[in-house]
């Protein structure tokens, strides 16, 4: 088998596209066209093989696949490296891009360019990738190919002729794309004889074989059975199996500079495999590749079992989850209201939702998630920094000089007609506008600086609503800044409910308290006595609501068959009550702990 091709015949590329712009469908067509996959094996959207991903229409974990392709009598290897399409995973995207020499820029001909696409495109340009613009979905009645072509030309300064018009769904333009990959993307460079230098761009957990590490070799040659070292973690392993990534893995003896492959060496814990880390040989090591970062969580929340007795089970589930989700971090936490649970760190809100859903689907756990929060820094009078990942960790105001919170730079791209409401929204979220650029006559890019905590909650949904779905968002962390933050507590009949506390900006504390109290009033069932709901900063009550005592809860008729029906109903009620949490004399249903997420 002509496995070891010359480097000139290898092409490494990725696809940059906004969610729903057709990346997965295009990938499917490329695999079909190159006979990498037969019709029989064809499953819709092959590259996204987690159920959750398919439902959400986004790629959460990136993968890679190798295709064989003949052009003008020459055999080529095309490595398609998939990229996740959400801002929560931008570091992973940057590593996937770093593994490529070219990128297909896929733009929906009816939608135009979106913020996420642009930020990934910039990433690709930074890494000197050759960009092949593809105008997808040109078969759709709403397609505006000329207009979107202008946008692309404006954006990357290419010749309109270079833009390939395609419809992945209809199979239009696929051959042309393959030819462009071969002819326009440069082959990789590197020295197969140099010390091994390969970059990890992804990993997948396999419960039988341990972690599968996906890498791109930049220099040197990795051989099966060699002793390898991960430069940043410093750990060494035996390369038990290496191979290339066809639709199924194909083991081989060696992989040379320029190519992409996988490595299996019995690694059990995903944490040991860090995206961006460098693989080298133990006996002939190289320098670490640039661009490695330890991914840090941005959003923190408590996760608690609904049934307090399921704490150990939840721990076991989280441990398993962590095996293939290295970006999830957690530590045990105790709440007076919720009992034993975990304080977890996530890359973003989407990541948090995914973890929660995976716990439910894959491990059958029902969990309560508490108010998501960002990481604050409490600065002492001596300049010392206390990291605050949970409201309970915020020191008393007297003990610190001030609080700093993370800020982001946000890029929002939208139709020009929605600028007004978008600016208003960002101002409301304590944002400052930094720049405003017209990409075309009716598409504008706005740049804001905003506190991260303000976009954690409902920002994205509101942005989508006010722009009728047009606006797209991308952001990056720009550092910590001083802010007037206070801890807002919720009390029920005078007892503090720690799981409902939040760190909020002082100017917003009243409004926040008022809305939360209102929401809780709707969510707390009436009990035999009145319930006072209060929001307080320190000892100062800033909002109050009352749940009146239950006045009537008895239904008539209790004869014969009614007795069974009624008993069953009440037994069910009683069981439901066992799932509630008690603070003082107040019973709190689990929905109440999620109330904050539903503030509107």
């Amino acid at each position: 088998m002509p496995l070891i091709l010359r480097m000139e015949n290898i092409r490494n590329f990725c696809i940059i596209a906004h969610i729903d712009h057709g990346k997965s469908t295009l990938a499917d067509r490329l695999l079909e066209e190159t006979d990498t996959v037969s019709d029989r094996e064809m499953q819709e959207q092959l590259l996204d093989n987690m159920d959750l991903e398919r439902e959400r229409g986004i790629t959460i974990k990136s993968h890679a696949v190798q295709m064989d392709y003949q052009s003008s009598g020459t055999a080529y290897i095309l490595n398609l490296i998939d990229t996740p399409g959400h801002v929560d995973f931008s570091y992973e995207v940057s590593r996937s891009i770093a593994a490529c020499e070219g990128a297909l820029l896929v733009v929906d001909a009816s939608q135009g360019i979106e913020a996420q696409t642009i930020s990934n495109l910039y990433l690709a340009l930074e890494h000197d990738l050759e960009i092949i613009p593809v105008l997808n979905k040109i078969d759709l009645p709403g397609a505006m190919p000329d207009e979107v072509t202008d946008q692309i030309v404006d954006l990357i300064g290419c010749d309109p002729q270079e833009i390939i018009r395609a419809s992945a769904k209809e199979g239009i333009g696929i051959q042309e794309i393959l030819e462009a990959i071969v002819n326009r993307i440069p082959p990789p460079t590197g020295d197969p004889q140099a010390p091994l230098q390969a970059m990890i761009f992804d990993s997948v957990f396999n419960s039988y074989r341990g972690i599968e590490v996906y890498f791109r070799v930049f220099n040197g040659t990795i051989k099966s059975g060699a002793q390898v070292k991960f430069v940043n973690t410093g750990k060494t392993y035996d390369a038990d199996e290496i191979g290339i990534l066809k639709l199924k893995q194909e083991p081989c003896d060696e992989i040379q500079a320029g190519n992409v492959g996988y490595l299996i060496s019995g690694i059990k814990v995903a944490k040991e495999v860090k995206v961006g880390d460098t693989i080298t040989h133990v006996d002939r090591p190289c320098e670490a590749l640039k661009g490695f970062e330890d991914v840090k969580p941005m959003v923190f929340a408590g996760i608690y079992p609904v049934e307090t007795s399921e704490y150990e089970e939840l721990r076991a589930s989280m441990e398993k989850l962590q095996l293939n989700d290295a970006s999830l971090v957690w530590e045990p936490e105790t709440s007076a209201a919720l009992g034993f649970g975990f304080r977890c760190g996530f890359l973003g809100m989407l990541h948090m939702e995914i973890v929660q859903e995976r716990l439910e689907r894959e491990f059958d756990m029902t969990v309560i998630t508490t108010v998501p929060s960002v990481q604050f820094h409490a600065i002492g009078s001596d300049g010392s920094i206390t990291i605050v990942n949970a409201p309970s960790e915020l020191p008393e105001p007297m003990q610190i000089s001030h609080v700093e919170e993370p800020f982001i730079r946000a890029q929002i791209i939208s139709k020009a007609e929605y600028i007004g409401p978008i600016i208003a929204l960002c101002m409301d979220k304590r944002g400052v506008i930094k720049n405003q650029v017209y990409l075309t006559s009716d598409r504008v890019e706005l740049t804001f600086e905003l506190p991260l905590s303000e976009i954690v909650f409902d920002f994205y949904d509101r942005l989508k609503t006010i722009s009728r779905g047009y606006a797209s968002l991308d952001y990056e962390l720009i550092g910590f800044r001083k802010s007037n933050m206070v801890k807002l507590d919720i009390m029920l009949n005078g007892e503090k409910v720690d799981a409902l506390s939040a760190i909020v900006h002082r100017d917003k504390a009243h409004e926040w308290g008022k809305r939360l109290c209102e929401k809780l009033r709707q969510l707390l069932p009436r009990q035999m006595f009145e319930i006072a709901i209060q929001a307080a900063i320190g000892t100062k009550v800033v909002a109050r609501e009352t749940v009146r005592a239950m006045r009537k809860n008895v239904l008539a008729k209790c004869y014969g068959g009614d007795i069974t029906r009624k008993r069953k109903l009440l037994e069910k009620q009683k069981k439901g009550k066992k799932r509630m949490r008690q603070v003082g004399n107040v019973e709190i249903p689990q929905e109440a702990f999620m109330a904050v997420l539903k503030l509107d």
Partner: protein
């Protein structure tokens, strides 16, 4: 149908294990549609298969529009000695709204006819909590007291999902009354009737002295009972069985000599919970001694602080080892029952 019921009687003659029977109740649906002949045959069937006491309470549920003087006389001659009239309300607008066939005048006349025919034990069903404007509970109570039935059952209107009212509710055309309104109406019923000498002997039942329903009480004291006909329920202390709620299926099964019922075995906690639920509803209260003796369930030990809280907050009092709900407690009897329930893990 009568033939099938007679056949079922014969098949079930041992269900009550030879116990003396002191109450028979024709109810559920509209038994007043039965002819004199059919009622006669069923009663004969019962008499020849069970031991029925001389002074047994024999009740017929009837719609006011089904009764006339001659039928009432026939009922008396059959030995039926108690009537339960489905009056619901004396308000014609509400009656129309509820799709009832009778009208205010008819109900009043029917009651007076029954009295003059010789029925000295008449119960009246009244509904409350009707969510339409013309509904007037005070007026219903006034007429009721004028007629002076021996027994009154009151039910709050509930809107079930699979009904016309449920449909209207979903479409937003109808809204159930608030807890506050329901409580106020229920309290008005209690105080008005109690003032006139009615005992509030169970959450939804009121009776003049000596006119409490033997039949109903049986349900709340875990007496055995046999239900006959489609969808009827029976209870023998440990299990409850219920006939199929489908006339044709019921008939077909009985004709083939099969009892078309399903069985529900009551666990210890089910039985305790039923005792708690029904006991709390009665003025005699929930007998803690009975729970202890029969089920070795010490509610004081298991729920001591909760019971104390009920008493402190005037929801209940304890008298001779019985928990008796106060008026305030009666209004939330379901909540208290659920709180006291035993739940198996």
């Amino acid at each position: 149908m009568t033939m099938a019921i007679l056949k079922e009687i014969a098949m079930q003659k041992d269900y009550l294990q030879g116990e003396l029977i002191d109450t028979i109740y024709f109810g559920g649906g509209t038994p007043s549609l039965l002819s004199k002949q059919e009622l006669h045959e069923i009663l004969q069937g019962l008499k020849s298969n069970f031991k029925i006491t001389e002074q047994a309470e024999i009740t017929l549920e009837a719609n006011p529009d089904d009764l006339d003087i001659s039928f009432l006389n026939e009922l008396l001659s059959l030995g039926i000695n108690r009537l339960s009239l489905g009056v619901q309300t004396f308000n014609d607008v509400v009656l129309t709204w509820m799709n009832r066939a009778h009208r205010r005048e008819q109900a009043m006349k029917c009651f007076q006819m029954a009295r003059s025919t010789g029925f000295d034990n008449i119960s009246m069903d009244l509904i409350f909590g009707v969510p339409i404007e013309s509904y007037d509970l005070a007026d219903d109570l006034e007429i009721t007291l004028d007629l002076s039935p021996d027994h009154v059952s009151t039910y709050q209107l509930t809107i079930e999902p699979q009904t016309v009212l449920g449909h209207r509710q979903r479409k937003g055309l109808l809204q159930e009354i608030s807890q506050e309104q329901a409580a106020a109406q229920f309290e008005l019923i209690i105080s008005t009737l109690e003032q006139k000498g009615y005992q509030h002997y169970e959450i939804s039942n009121f009776a003049l002295l000596g006119k409490e329903s033997h039949h109903n009480r049986g349900y709340w004291q875990q007496s055995f009972y046999l239900g006959l006909g489609p969808s009827a329920h029976s209870f023998n202390g440990h299990s409850r069985q219920f006939n199929v709620a489908h006339n044709a299926q019921y008939l077909a099964a009985v004709q083939q000599g099969v009892l078309p019922h399903k069985l529900e075995i009551l666990t210890r906690s089910n039985q305790i919970n039923e005792s708690i639920m029904t006991g709390l509803r009665t003025s005699r209260g929930l007998d803690l001694g009975y729970l202890q003796e029969r089920y070795q369930c010490d509610l004081q030990r298991e729920q001591g602080p909760y019971l104390q809280e009920l008493i402190t907050n005037n929801f209940a009092e304890i008298d001779e080892n019985k928990i008796i709900l106060t008026r305030k407690g009666k209004l939330i009897a379901d909540q208290i029952a659920a709180d006291l329930f035993i739940v198996d893990d």
